[in-house]
């Protein structure tokens, strides 16, 4: 078995709804790569595999929420395969966006009262329940807080989203 087979297995595996792929440490361990150059070797492997799978319409992505590397269909194909889960629900998308900003601002947890204030809505419980059912957040009932699950990092390019917003605000 070569590195490509093993990497494909490690990057395409799905253990739970919100856990796919593998961390850099897991990959290095399974490939038995160690030493001073392991970081360089890892980067080289990822780049080489990217080139290899590109003709298949696949690419490698990184989930900053749980530091896992995983495989996705190419972004150019996403319009064809309807990757957007909020196609007709802009309200939910807006609540999720506020939750992402608040959670990433404060170590992964956001207070529901702050979220409500940011959304400028009297009630957001239904939105939060819907988002919890979709697997994007967990509601911590006793504390009136929410936290993000890693799922959104697998479905949304957070870096690109924040870049788009930065450009919008700075232009």
């Amino acid at each position: 078995m070569n590195e490509i087979s093993l990497l494909m297995y490690l990057l395409s595996r799905k253990d739970q709804l919100d856990e796919m792929g593998s961390t850099k440490e897991e990959i290095l361990e399974r490939l038995q790569i160690s030493g001073r150059n392991k970081g360089f070797m890892f980067k080289k492997l990822i780049i080489e595999l990217s080139k290899y799978i590109s003709p298949l319409g696949l690419e490698i992505q990184y989930n900053p929420l749980n530091t896992h590397w995983f495989l996705t269909f190419k972004s150019s194909m996403n319009d064809l395969i309807l990757a957007n889960p909020f196609q007709d629900k802009p309200r939910l998308a807006a609540t999720l966006f506020c939750a992402i900003i608040l959670c990433l601002k404060s170590n992964g947890i956001a207070k529901i009262v702050e979220l409500k204030k940011l959304r400028n809505k009297k009630e957001i419980r239904d939105d939060l329940k819907d988002l919890e059912n979709l697997g994007y957040i967990k509601i911590i009932k006793n504390y009136n807080e929410i936290n993000l699950t890693p799922l959104i990092g697998y479905q949304l390019n957070l870096e690109k989203l924040f870049m788009k917003l930065s450009l919008k605000l700075n232009v």
């Binding site: 395969i81 940011l118 989203l161």
Partner: protein
């Protein structure tokens, strides 16, 4: 912490406090979705078996032979680049525009040699000069100006 990398945390919050419409936020998500690729059938056992069956099928080793190409000096033609520099610029633009907007460093990420980095940097300068792409100094982002090639 992650937001701090963008150095825009306060601006993001100010934007949300300005009470943007749901549709305005929803539109930010466009072009940012992934569809993860999971292959449940791909297990380590499956890969091991595939490898064994492939190996057992290859009974003879490969033979490597020298390829003899007759030299014809009289027909020597000076090789010219197959495309003009303008074409090279267009090809590069078509290759990168789907990545945009992105950090300028990302455009050089996969390049391995200094020569390649220098060549692509020169092309980026030409694309900036003719307005096909724009550079935002505060964020180090390269992007396509409004009215340019749509994402």
């Amino acid at each position: 912490m992650y937001l701090a990398l963008f150095g825009q945390e306060k601006k993001f919050l100010a934007f949300l406090e300005s009470n943007p419409s749901d549709m305005e936020i929803f539109n930010l998500f466009k072009g940012c979705w992934y569809k993860p690729f999971n292959l449940n059938a791909l297990s380590l056992d499956f890969l091991e078996e595939s490898k064994d069956s492939l190996e057992s099928r290859i009974r003879e080793g490969y033979i490597i032979e020298n390829l003899e190409i007759p030299l014809k000096d009289e027909n020597f033609i000076l090789e010219m680049p197959s495309s003009s520099f303008q074409k090279t610029i267009e090809n590069y633009f078509n290759k990168i525009y789907k990545k945009l907007p992105c950090n300028m460093d990302d455009l050089f990420e996969e390049l391995e040699s200094q020569e390649e980095i220098y060549e692509k940097f020169i092309i980026i300068l030409h694309l900036l000069q003719n307005g096909k792409i724009m550079y935002q100094k505060q964020t180090n982002f390269i992007y396509i100006p409004e009215g340019g090639k749509d994402e």
